[in-house]
Symmetry: C2
Subunit: 287 residues, 2 copies
């Protein structure tokens, strides 16, 4: 599978055997093998532009806003003063686009390992790559894991927008990584990482939560709806250096005017709270 | 599409063009054309048993509990005393299984149009068809729309567990149907109908809500995660004869012991509340 046949692209992966999502391609906009991964951009019949890395859908124009807004605003709105933010990964620019909107954020540093993804996004996915235009942003091309080794007590929030733990992103799901992030945070710092779903990857969710919990005083799992991801949703592990953080109660509550000014299409303060509510079959199993 | 090829079944539909979900079949357990629709039951590599009607996935063993519990407990727990419940559709038995669990429900009447679905479920999907064994249940084979014409002020809650509005279920999405349900309800009565998703069928959601609103004093839209449905979720339109109902605040709150006793795997009182929280892009558009 993972191939284009009769203008249909099919995604499949060992992480979710026996099921696959396919979409109709109207144009192959880009295809290359970078130093790190295979990069494809498609125009499609019903999902808009789609970015695919190593055969796995990273984002579609139809629903990317849910992922980008939630991985950004969940941690940002849990922090009292998220002035300096580090983004690890996020080579399409979507997370930078969202983080830059937050009124308290003054400085964004981003480390993306694959400069080809940045280039391709600038060319074909301008609705996300617009994030790179922010005057708040300093963009580095490099390994986020290595970058963190040289940074101490520098960031208020670290957001890890990685692909799944196959290929270049494996190290970002290990406990070492959470330990490095901890050291790079200022007091009261918060981290938020993509962390799989309760339907398909409960083991991954559990292990990522455990690694985070071993390093951070408070942890939680939240999720959002992204129709084009396997199982139609994606989850986040959030950790704070502070004890007794109420992750589900945003410190900064947005008004309807705020939502409009920031063009928030998915995130709002009620959605924030609901994102931490778990179905019964995992409620007592996680965290 | 909508076919079995090399042991993979692909679902596609005009309701969600340009995208399709496929699963690997290990055994075709049943296939027949009933008076109303094509019925297929598969055993699969990763989803357990799967019921397909007219080429559309109705439920999979992996995630059916989310749908069945939510379409049942959302309306039941909004009602102060849901003693007598009507289920329209639900031929697999899953909704009856859930409704029968509710401590206040004394009597369940179910009207399913296709007796072949009932037969097939009893044979191949016993984990759902167990619902038909409840001593609370009286099962009729017939048209729910016609059934309602002969019933006045009889039910506390009416749950419509239908397929999508193509084929035999079309009439269950029209305003006439909501008008008939209204007349069949006792004072304080509540209805809950399957009603499409905000990602793929926003027009269907809006029209169903509008029809419901034209007949009922209070209405709301809620949704739950069902990975094997298009867009990974499914929504419900809920209406009450009473004004100022707080749908998102369950009248009956379950303890952990209650959840265990009823084997609730998805629904809990926090999930109830969260199910009504809408993303910003639809929050101000619906209801």
């Amino acid at each position: 599978m993972n191939k284009l046949q009769n203008n249909w692209f099919s995604e499949s992966c060992d992480m979710w055997p026996g099921a696959t999502f396919s979409f109709e391609v109207t144009e192959v906009l880009h295809e290359e093998k970078s130093q790190f991964q295979n990069i494809q951009v498609f125009d499609t019949k019903s999902l808009g532009k789609v970015l695919v890395l190593d055969g796995i859908i990273q984002c579609t124009q139809k629903d990317e806003f849910s992922y980008q807004e939630m991985i950004s605003f969940l941690p940002l709105c849990c922090h009292k003063n998220p002035e300096k933010v580090l983004i690890v990964g996020g080579g399409d620019g979507g997370v930078a686009r969202e983080v830059a909107k937050h009124p308290k954020v003054k400085e964004i540093v981003q480390v993306e390992i694959d400069e080809k993804v940045i280039e391709v996004s600038k060319k074909h996915l301008p609705f996300m790559a617009v994030g790179f235009d922010s005057h708040k942003l300093t963009l580095h091309v490099g390994d986020g894991f290595e970058f963190l080794k040289n940074h101490r007590e520098e960031f208020d929030v670290i957001i890890t927008d990685s692909s799944d733990p196959v290929g270049p992103a494996v190290s970002l799901f290990e406990e070492n990584y959470f330990s490095l992030m901890k050291k790079a945070l200022k007091p009261h710092g918060i981290v938020c990482s993509q962390a799989g779903t309760i339907w398909n990857d409960l083991e991954l969710v559990s292990s990522t939560l455990r690694y985070c919990k071993n390093q951070f005083a408070s942890v939680a799992y939240a999720y959002t709806s992204v129709p084009t991801y396997p199982s139609g949703q994606i989850g986040f592990v959030i950790g704070s250096l502070d004890k007794d953080v109420n992750f589900d109660t945003p410190d900064l509550v947005f008004s309807r005017d705020d939502e409009k000014a920031m063009n928030l299409r998915y995130y709002n303060s009620d959605v924030h709270k609901a994102a931490f509510v778990l179905p019964t079959y995992v409620k007592y199993q996680l965290v």
